[in-house]
Symmetry: D2
Subunit: 121 residues, 4 copies
């Protein structure tokens, strides 16, 4: 998603993180729906819940940055953790194209949220 | 934002509308913050409220499509109306780069939501 | 939830609808989680999706009223429809205490949203 | 808001925190709108942003608990901080009935979120 700010002075790092959170929100919600439709191990409660958790905290995290909230590093910190756990959960389901893509997006989002949270990579 | 679906069969039209809603959510939230910071006519209650309304219904609308909900055309219909009003409100503030960009994104989102809602363009 | 407004002049009807939407959001999200944990017919994709749709549009609808948005009747109209369909879906699963309570709350929320939307009861 | 769980075994402490977060979300959103309408010091960007941050993280926090997410203590921890800062910001505006009530609700929500986060009171 192109995201040019003019009015505000928003750092490239933050714009990048907003784009990652937005993409991660979208793929997690789509993947949750895919997993519920698949049934079986894909629809296991812990996995679906993690996808819904990740979708929600990513949207929230993006919104804190879009509002230029000084509290965004705190939300980014939690978001990084949720994304990381979601990536692991997707990888464990394994040989599935949707899961692989979702894990990849979650991992990338976790990385840029860690940067915004001031954590080490 | 690249958005390739593999598991699902999602139409290009729907993917396009999700991308538009996502972009519109983001710019409306960013613009609401910009307007509150600017103060004066930018921070007029009706205008800020419309930006917040538009940000929220766009996120909601994208999520209905990401869940492949059969009810998405109903939400797209309302979203189109809110986006349209938000575009008008931004245009009336006029000579401002942030407002112009926001109006443009809202107008584009309204258009693709109307398509998804089965309304005439 | 007690909800006394002082600053604003908010009608009893609207306060009532906000409380119904809030309660409906909460029970639908809780029920979605319950259904995913139960598995089987409870976890059928169409049913879970409807619970997630209903949870989200109810939160959105409450927020439009809390912002005193003039566009709230449009969102209330869609919310009433989603709640109605969700109530039916819960009733069809039948002999389950969680489903019965969820159906009841959805039906009540649909009723007060119809009033706010200016629809006939 | 009455909140009886049947299917799940949800602790009283968690039900209490969900109710507090829900109430806090609602009053913060209502108060943000009130402040934007009031203008002047009420509409100062930092204050309005904090009210919007608080409304959003409270909704998010309630949802993590409603989904019985094992990650809820992390979100509750951040929510407690945001609520605390929002309470202070409302108190500084002072002699206003809406601000007093909002500060009170934020402070109560912060307290029960700290409990859920496993922090000391």
């Amino acid at each position: 998603m192109p995201h040019h700010t003019t009015g505000h002075q928003m750092s490239d790092k933050m714009q990048h993180c907003i784009a990652n959170c937005t993409e991660c929100h979208n793929i997690c919600l789509e993947t949750a729906n895919y997993c519920i439709e698949m049934g079986g191990k894909h629809a296991e409660a812990g996995h679906v819940r993690l996808l819904l958790d990740c979708a929600q905290i990513c949207a929230n995290c993006a919104d804190f940055m879009l509002r230029a909230s000084p509290l965004h590093p705190r939300v980014c910190g939690v978001c990084a953790e949720v994304c990381e756990q979601c990536a692991v959960s997707c990888e464990q389901l394994g040989d599935d194209e949707q899961m692989k893509r979702c894990a990849e997006v979650c991992r990338r989002c976790a990385g840029s949220c860690r940067v915004m949270a001031g954590m080490k990579m």
